[in-house]
């Protein structure tokens, strides 16, 4: 199993850098993963991450539409917060697996 140190904590990750044990996640870790993705983490980013973590914990599928309907941010804003590949980046920073949904 691969491991990586973020904010002084050793966490388990897969070969793509996604955390494999979301219970190890903290906001400080999120901040450091975000930095690797060239994102300066704000409260807004964290709110999205918490939303995704909550969906993940409930076993619900994670879609970009659900983020748009979350009341936290619209889809355009989501693309601006996590430029490039928003779902993948947000999931990585939120310490959850890479989204398996096609939408």
């Amino acid at each position: 199993m691969l491991q990586k140190v973020f904010a002084g904590t050793t966490v388990n990750v897969n070969e793509e850098g996604y955390m494999t044990d979301s219970s190890q996640w903290t906001k400080e870790i999120a901040k450091e993963i975000a930095r690797e993705e060239n994102i300066d983490l704000t409260e807004k980013h964290l709110a999205v991450c918490e939303f995704l973590r909550d969906k993940q914990a409930k076993g619900e599928s994670i879609t970009i539409r659900s983020v748009g309907n979350s009341g936290i941010i619209d889809i355009k804003g989501f693309y601006q917060l996590f430029p490039g590949a928003p779902m993948k980046k947000a999931a990585k920073i939120a310490g959850i697996p890479k989204p398996a949904s096609c939408v």
Binding site: S61, R65, I75, Y79, P83, G84, M87, V103
Partner: protein
Amino acid sequence: MQKEEHPLKKVCIICAKGTIEDVYAALVMSNGAVMEGIETKVFFTFFGLDAITKKHMNSLKTGTVGNPAMRMPGGLPFPTLLGTLPGVEAGVSSMMRSQMEKLDIPPVSEFLEMIEAGGGEIYACKLAMDMFKLEKSDLWDGVKDVLTVGQFYELCGGLQTQVIFT
């Protein structure tokens, strides 16, 4: 999975048919590309124009005749003759839409908005517009432009670009 040395940078997706499944194939591919950070341009032509025509975009249908892959709920074959009865096409189509809604797949207009929100661009084919006597005002407001084939190909240039015909 091994990392691709030259990942896709741009996709140009062409949708020429207007059934639910043809249009959604194009929309899912397009939205998926946008979500991966791939530059995305979608070109609607011929019957595919229904997907970006205000009047029709949210009431597309699935054809119920001549589709050997169509089955009854439960898996029994769907007789083509049954598909010709009044109301069957509408019923099957609404069933398709409700199944998609369950998977959080949005209606066509919302799907297009999502693609646009991520920077994807939607285009209409000039020749097909002329053929179907459509004006720009008949189209969904987010359509970026009405293009000739030549103009569309001009947008398709560049390394690591793929043209996809759904």
